[in-house]
């Protein structure tokens, strides 16, 4: 039996949501920033223990003053990945706001925080204190680089593992 699960990538614009999906699903990366308008859905089959999962990965347009995530997009959500660009302070604030919004609308749902652009770590503006704050929320916090493919598998699998009920596995 294959369990179908809807997961979303959330975050400010240009944090690398589409790049992480591209790297995970198609093993591709492009340096060029192409903004996402609308929603794109990709599929990926994974196995957690003995359980086969079909992940429906929803790539939502980044949040800013011009684009807001629709509540309808969160319907049927099984889990989500909040993406933060380590080089941009603003993306941390947006991430926390989005996380709070999902919690308000859906309650406790499996989640993972991805601290993206770890290949640019010497330019990170996110402080250790902020990373500690994230960790205290009780969700996995994983450093990723869509460019180098670092941590990408771990982020998606970290979420996938939370989606499989223990008794099933």
């Amino acid at each position: 039996m294959v369990l179908q699960k809807k997961i979303c990538l959330l975050g400010a614009f240009s944090v690398g949501k589409t790049s992480l999906i591209q790297r995970y699903v198609n093993q591709l990366f492009s340096e060029k920033y192409l903004t996402t308008v609308g929603v794109k859905i990709d599929k990926k089959q994974v196995t957690v223990g003995n359980t086969a999962l079909s992940l429906m990965v929803w790539d939502l347009a980044g949040e800013d003053d011009f684009t807001q995530i629709r509540s309808a997009h969160l319907r049927g959500l099984s889990g989500y990945i909040v993406v933060i660009d380590g080089t941009r302070q603003n993306s941390f604030t947006v991430a926390l706001a989005l996380h709070e919004r999902v919690r308000t609308e859906l309650g406790q749902v499996p989640a993972v925080f991805a601290l993206n652009k770890s290949d640019l770590k010497d330019q990170w503006l996110i402080s250790h204190e902020q990373i500690r704050t994230l960790a205290q929320l009780g969700y996995p916090v994983i450093e990723t680089s869509a460019k180098l493919g670092l941590g990408v598998e771990e982020v998606f699998m970290g979420l996938a593992r939370q989606l499989v009920p223990e008794k099933v596995n």
């Binding site: 240009s14 920033y33 903004t35 308008v37 049927g76 503006l125 204190e129």
Partner: protein, 359 residues
């Protein structure tokens, strides 16, 4: 079907569906070629499950149901989503639902150039936002660098006076930290909190202009000597004034006014109440507290409770009663600073305390 209408549908890449009982959608306009690819897997009975063909619609169909049930004729949009066609091209799609002549209608449109245009506009806006964010970060980074340099200069200035009078390095550091705690409790902005932390320790910098015979005299000063000693407020202010550096401006205010008294009996100008700058009123309180509870070569330390009683007696006369009340409410933080910032390993200790203030 009217060929005129069909032509319009084709030109705007729009397909009209009517929902039938059972939830299947029946097209009422010709299926464009691009759509055939997505519906090909389904039966050829001319009725389609659009949610199965386009999983994105699963999040929209609930709203669509409500819209149809309410019989709204105004279109309700699904928002844009992207599908990949048989040529691996991205197709931007949008659905709209409405109630027309007793029928549940769904319009499916391939947005084409309209989408490309919107995308390009948004791309430009976001590129400028990214540039703006980057510039703001750079400005912030450089401002911090400048501020750090200003702090270094200020600390060097303070160390000059420490060479001549009996005040210790730890004392001046504590004064800054106490003052910062007060400023934070008063909801000053982060920049001003940082400014008073560095500016308050410079309150006695004018003592550099006081002759040694007076500054280092172990006995009580006579009137003439005291009048000379009083000058350190004005000397300090004159030393610090005249720049555009906020830390030095505040330091000048503090240096000039930290011997003013709430009841107007202080010096050098006899200012009273709120005419005395708040930065100076804060510094006066924390300076007195620290001086009382620490030993000097010319006096012994007194127990904190005794010091606090003395300060309470000064409320409304020497000290601003409101700020003193605030100071007393912050005693746990003040005690931590007092106990942790001692002569040994001052910098490390200050760093730890500072981190807590900033948090």
């Amino acid at each position: 079907m009217d060929s005129f209408l069909s032509s319009i549908y084709r030109n705007i890449n729009l397909t009209v569906f009517v929902r039938e009982q059972g939830g299947q959608f029946k097209p009422c306009s010709p299926l464009p070629d691009w759509l055939v690819f997505f519906l090909a897997k389904q039966s050829d009975l001319g009725r389609y499950n659009l949610v199965e063909a386009f999983p994105y619609l699963s999040c929209f169909i609930e709203d669509a149901e409500q819209h149809w049930q309410a019989k709204y004729s105004k279109p309700l949009s699904s928002g844009v989503w992207i599908e990949i066609d048989e040529l691996e091209h991205e197709l931007p799609l949008e659905a709209c639902v409405m109630w027309v002549d007793g029928q549940e209608v769904l319009l499916l449109q391939q947005l084409g150039e309209k989408y490309t245009h919107d995308l390009s506009r948004l791309q430009q806006v976001r590129n400028s936002l990214l540039t703006q964010e980057m510039l703001e970060s750079e400005v912030k980074r450089r401002t911090l660098e400048i501020r750090k340099r200003e702090e270094e200069i200020a600390i060097k200035l303070v160390s000059l006076t420490s060479l001549r009078d009996e005040e210790t390095g730890a004392h001046v550091r504590r004064i800054g930290l106490y003052a910062a705690v007060m400023a934070k409790a008063l909801a000053w902005n982060a920049e001003d909190i940082d400014t008073i932390r560095v500016a308050a320790p410079m309150h006695d910098i004018g003592k550099i202009g006081i002759p040694d015979r007076i500054l280092r005299k172990s006995g009580v000063l006579n009137d003439e000597e005291f009048n000379v000693m009083k000058k350190h407020t004005e000397i300090g202010a004159a030393m610090l004034r005249g720049t555009k550096i906020p830390i030095l401006n505040m330091a000048a205010d503090i240096a000039l006014n930290h011997h003013e008294r709430w009841d107007g009996t202080g010096y050098p100008r006899g200012l009273a109440d709120e005419a005395i700058p708040m930065s100076a009123r804060i510094t006066t309180i924390v300076d007195i507290y620290d001086a009382l509870v620490h030993e000097r070569v010319y006096k012994k330390a007194i127990p904190e409770e005794e010091a606090l009683n003395l300060m309470r007696e000064m409320a409304g006369r020497h000290l601003d009663p409101h700020l003193l009340k605030l100071f007393l409410s912050l005693l746990p933080a003040m005690r931590r600073i007092r106990l942790e910032v001692q002569e040994v390993n001052e910098e490390a200790q200050e760093g730890e305390v500072l981190e807590e203030i900033c948090v």
